[in-house]
Point group: C2
Chain length 354, copies 2
């Protein structure tokens, strides 16, 4: 989901860069917009400092900022309303109590993340149903956060890592970009793992110091929490521990979920890569040529070849193509089979004047 | 993830159908493979009974069958090994006990789904760490199941629903297909909701009969379980209840997770649809024409137009195109800018003979 969104800000940049390269290669009439030796760097205007890729997270930031505010606002409303509700019915919740407000927030967080230790449980029908409704809404909000905020934060970290690597290895920006594009998901996995490890380490320390657990019990409680297992035999039972737990549980459960999402992305990507390779190295037959020939002129142009291969790779479907072809035929007013400036002029003239 | 896989079996069918339509429209030299009035049905050969779409789940079945076996096998190994382990250390697990084997499987299921009631908890360091490791592996397997088996089963159900609707409404197959393509994700949401509701209903009944809970407590336990919250104040404590719980917990937690995935897909799809509409209705300028002109001949052919629009929609990237263009230039041995049968013949001749 997130990667879909990430592609959009790239578009304008890529279109510009193709235009530039286009002019540079104009002399040879029949040559295409790229030469074989430098397949990817070609499209990054060198003067712009690799703005095609390096500026991506910034532009995502610009795009996502309203979403991030939305995430924060919905979280605040959800937790605020939950805290108020469960504070009002605090006498119908039984278990280890500390400060009433901290307990209410803690109960909300433990419920929304589906950790559910069971150290605080509702004991009337009304509060039981309230908690049931609350956990459903919580799962939706957690999904929303995973699709927006967590990805955004990891990408920010990714940029810092890339900048550090770049400084260290003294590579040209375009070379780094190429390398990063192919290891993008791996970098994300790496960063998510690093963040999660730090969180788990901090959690273990706090559980040992504040809750007085021994090392095994602290580790066990950490694992039980980040996976949202929450048996509840070990949990946060002091005021300080719970105040820490509110933030720590929220962040670390999201962290592990995000890491699993990245690992899944890694698998999908490697499968996709294998398929692309297979499609590209497969031998073309005359039957393929016939199928790829969209305008029926007996030969396959570069663009027709690209569409045929993209379809084979499963990146696009016939439906995608059909929709756009419909639009093309609307625009191609002189029915020449190609669009030229004269078609555009004709299209903008009111039909009565034609 | 699953939808990526689903696209592949379609390819061969689509290529065939375009070839058929191609022949039908051959007389008009410059016309393309589809006419404006019937955008989608055109590509489904009427004689084949809409095999483009209706056979999809079957072909997925054919494709996924090895995966389903893999899912079942890994589940069996995972649960089998877990049951054996926790059976051997059953004296280090404290809580409500019934039959030792049922308890071991039940403990495995409650742990792997991260429900974690806490009615059975490890009480030695070794078993605590074992359970921690087990829940991690469990999350990975649950993710694997969600990406394969659950989707497959829902698609099977979807086909039954479609057939029933088709019979009822007496529509032509191609019309049904069109309608289903655009409501595909909604159908999936509907079916996943229906399955989950039935599961929750059965769960409530069994908790009332076997565990003797009142209606509110039974509902509360059902909600607490399907969301994997698992406070643990209400859980399966009888032998019969646990035997039922083993299957019910596994299926219902997966069911809710899958439903959330479909709802997310629904949101993504509607965003994507809005973008496609925007791209298609946007006015073309002469700058767009210049950018879309891949072979630099001053006009934009149908295929070039399709690629330009697909890029704008974010469905493909410049990188995708570059990779394929490289392959194209390799194949275009006479450097004519088009591929013809003679290029293919040349490509298959050993370089020494050229």
């Amino acid at each position: 989901m997130a990667s879909n969104g990430a592609k959009l800000p790239l578009l304008s940049g890529l279109v510009d860069s193709t235009l530039q390269t286009n002019n540079a290669y104009a002399p040879n009439r029949r040559r295409f917009r790229r030469v074989k030796s430098a397949p990817l760097t070609e499209f990054v205007p060198s003067g712009a400092g690799g703005d095609g890729l390096l500026s991506r997270p910034e532009s995502i930031g610009g795009k996502l900022h309203p979403s991030l505010i939305l995430v924060a606002a919905s979280m605040a409303i959800y937790l605020g309303a939950g805290t108020l509700c469960f504070y009002l019915v605090r006498d119908d919740i039984e278990g280890t109590k500390t400060n009433p407000i901290i307990d209410s927030i803690y109960f909300c967080v433990v419920t929304m993340t589906t950790v559910g230790y069971g150290d605080l449980v509702p004991n009337t029908s009304f509060v039981k149903l309230l908690a049931s409704a609350y956990v459903f809404a919580g799962m939706a909000i957690v999904g929303f956060i995973l699709s927006k905020a967590a990805d955004y934060l990891v990408e920010k970290q990714e940029m810092l890592l890339i900048k550090a690597l770049n400084k260290h290895r003294k590579m040209t920006p375009s070379k780094t970009i190429k390398e990063i594009e192919s290891y993008r998901v791996r970098y994300k996995c790496l960063i998510a793992s690093a963040i999660l490890s730090v969180l788990m380490f901090i959690g273990t320390i706090v559980l040992r110091k504040k809750e007085g657990l021994d090392l095994t019990d602290a580790l066990y409680c950490v694992f039980s929490t980040v996976t949202t297992l929450g048996y509840g035999d070990e949990s946060f039972s002091t005021r300080g521990g719970r105040a820490f737990g509110i933030f720590w549980i929220l962040i670390s459960t999201l962290g592990l979920a995000q890491l699993f999402l990245y690992v899944a992305e890694l698998f999908t990507e490697s499968r996709q890569r294998a398929l692309v390779n297979w499609v590209l190295t497969r031998k073309m037959t005359s039957l393929d040529l016939e199928a790829a020939d969209i305008d029926n002129d007996g030969v396959v142009g570069a663009a027709e070849f690209v569409i045929y291969k993209l379809k084979e790779m499963g990146k696009i479907t016939q439906e995608d193509i059909s929709l756009i072809m419909e639009e093309f035929e609307d625009l191609d007013i002189d029915q020449s089979g190609t669009l030229s400036v004269s078609d555009l002029v004709l299209a903008q003239t009111p039909p009565t004047k034609r």
